[in-house]
């Protein structure tokens, strides 16, 4: 023992502190994390774990479609007007299933609008509605993943092609392996829903994505531009007749050439839109039960890689943000429960 009384006192104080700590820990019955790790380490690990949990949860949620579930079925043209993603298992087709996500502008040119206008508006409005309806252009695309029974790939593949033909469509591309394959078909837009129905009957729907891109505004804009360009061409032709010098003739001719080029551009774009809107595109992926389809490997390229990396980055951040939305309320509730529990325990001991 030291001859310095101060040291003896400090030693006694330390032992007292140790006994107090021992009593506290015995009360807790468990070894606290704080005893083994620094607060900074605990906070860092907790943060990383929370973010990881949030990211996993967000990924799980987005992947399994809890947020994206929008079903399809007999909804007819409605299905073609928006994006619809369906994850498995697919329930039986549900009428009016697309009611929830109809974009406002889509309701303008269609039959429902025609009915209301006939009831409530005058003949001029009816005519305007008819014009809008005539101009309405929607590009419809769908992707369907079907799981089919074992040993049935050959038959089902042929049936898919028959479905295309029966609906006045055609197969644009097709690839087939031993027990799985893909078919891309084009069918008239009016037969889009019927074709999907026929296809769904061929197997169990694993994934269904339906997209409808309304290009009406673009179409109307192109038509207006075409009309203006044609008028300009008429004017230029008249000017050409009046040109009296070589210089004037050359200037007008250049303007005419440019206008003609623009007209052809507009016509080309209109033809493209006509084609895309009059014929819907449906991609069908067939897979026999138990067959794993290998991911298709694209030809690697730097721009694609960059796009993927950006998409991956945004995807991870989005997943974490979505997951945090789930984790934070749960954590708050857990903290509240823990707080209440410790209070109750302390009071019980005090009694």
């Amino acid at each position: 023992m030291s001859s310095i009384a101060y040291l003896a006192d400090v030693r006694g104080d330390l032992l007292d502190a140790g006994r107090r700590e021992f009593r506290r820990r015995r009360g807790r019955r468990t070894v606290g994390l704080g005893d083994r790790f620094s607060t900074r380490s605990i906070v860092a690990v907790a943060t990383v774990m929370t973010l990881f949990a949030a990211g996993t949860l967000g990924w799980f949620v987005t992947r399994n479609g809890t947020l994206e579930i929008r079903t399809s079925g007999e909804a007819g043209d409605d299905a073609a007007r928006g994006n619809a993603t369906l994850a498995r298992p697919m329930p039986s087709p549900a009428p009016d299933a697309f009611e929830g996500f109809r974009f406002p502008e889509w309701s303008l040119p269609h039959a429902s609008l025609d009915v209301t206008t006939q009831n409530q508006r005058g003949p001029a409005d009816v005519a305007a509605g008819a014009i809008l309806s005539e101009l309405s252009r929607v590009i419809r695309t769908a992707e369907l993943g079907l799981e089919i029974p074992p040993e049935s790939f050959g038959d089902r593949f042929a049936q898919v092609i028959d479905v295309a033909a029966n609906n006045d469509g055609f197969v644009a591309t097709s690839t087939s392996r031993e027990r799985s394959g893909n078919v891309t078909m084009r069918v008239p837009a009016g037969n889009f829903t019927q074709t999907l129905q026929d296809l769904r009957a061929l197997g169990d729907v694993e994934v269904q994505t339906i997209q409808g891109r309304d290009v009406t505004a673009e179409y109307v804009d192109l038509r207006a531009r075409l009309r203006i360009a044609k008028s300009r061409r008429e004017v230029l032709l008249r000017l050409m007749d009046r040109a009296t010098s070589i210089e004037q003739t050359i200037r007008v001719q250049n303007a005419l050439d440019e206008t003609q080029l623009r007209i052809e551009e507009f016509q080309g774009q209109l033809r493209f839109l006509d084609n895309r809107t009059s014929l819907a595109t449906i991609q069908v992926h067939l897979r026999e039960e138990g067959v794993e389809v290998a991911a298709e490997i694209d030809t690697p390229s730097i721009p694609t890689a960059f796009e993927r990396s950006v998409a991956g980055f945004v995807g991870v951040i989005a997943a974490v943000v979505i997951g945090l939305g789930y984790v934070i309320p749960i954590a708050l509730l857990a903290a509240l429960a823990w707080f209440v529990w410790t209070r109750v325990r302390v009071r019980r001991r005090a009694v």
Partner: protein
């Protein structure tokens, strides 16, 4: 019971048995207070620094990892940290003691004397004289005029027949050199 254990074993054992830490304290308390006393030349500060160092060591004993320095090396590492803080701030930290709920202790007159005995002023004086003799003549003369005689830099400059800037530089360099000589282990008894 614990006397046969080495420092590392005592620290590990003290996780659940505070008495083991008491043995560690007995083993190093007095040498640590001497360590602080010789550096601060202040008995009260040395006592408080010792208490705070052991309090911090006790509070963080579960995070102790033997990195080859042993238990004493670990405690003296904390001590150096405390000493640096003391020289920087001019005061002794008391956070660890407060955290452990340790009361403030007064240093009695008897303890003052015992701690000052640990400083061994005679040896300190000898060390200072030895360090002083290692300075150059100019530095020694400048230091004597400025520090011992307490004369102004102008007077020092006049006496040494140099500019004031030169006088300042000699005093400054002399003090630095003196300090470096005093940091040598010659002040550590038994080392």
């Amino acid at each position: 019971m614990y006397e046969d254990l080495d420092d590392v074993e005592l620290i590990v054992l003290s996780w659940d048995e505070p008495e083991a830490f008491g043995v560690l304290f007995e083993r190093h308390g007095e040498s640590l207070i001497g360590y602080f006393a010789r550096r601060t030349l202040d008995a009260e500060a040395a006592a408080e620094l010792t208490a705070e160092t052991f309090a911090q060591a006790f509070a963080s004993r579960r995070r102790f990892r033997n990195k080859g320095l042993g238990g004493a090396g670990w405690i003296y590492g904390i001590a150096r940290h405390q000493l640096g803080r003391f020289f920087r701030t001019g005061g002794v930290d008391s956070r660890a003691r407060r955290r452990l709920g340790m009361p403030e202790r007064e240093v009695s007159t008897e303890d003052y004397e015992r701690i000052e005995e640990l400083i061994d002023f005679e040896q300190v004086g000898r060390a200072i004289g030895r360090a002083f003799s290692l300075l150059s003549d100019e530095q020694r003369e400048a230091l004597t005029l400025r520090v011992i005689d307490g004369r102004s830099y102008r007077e020092v400059a006049e006496a040494l027949r140099c500019t004031e800037e030169t006088a300042r530089a000699r005093v400054s360099r002399g003090l630095r050199r003196l300090a470096s000589h005093l940091e040598t282990p010659s002040l550590e008894p038994g080392r």
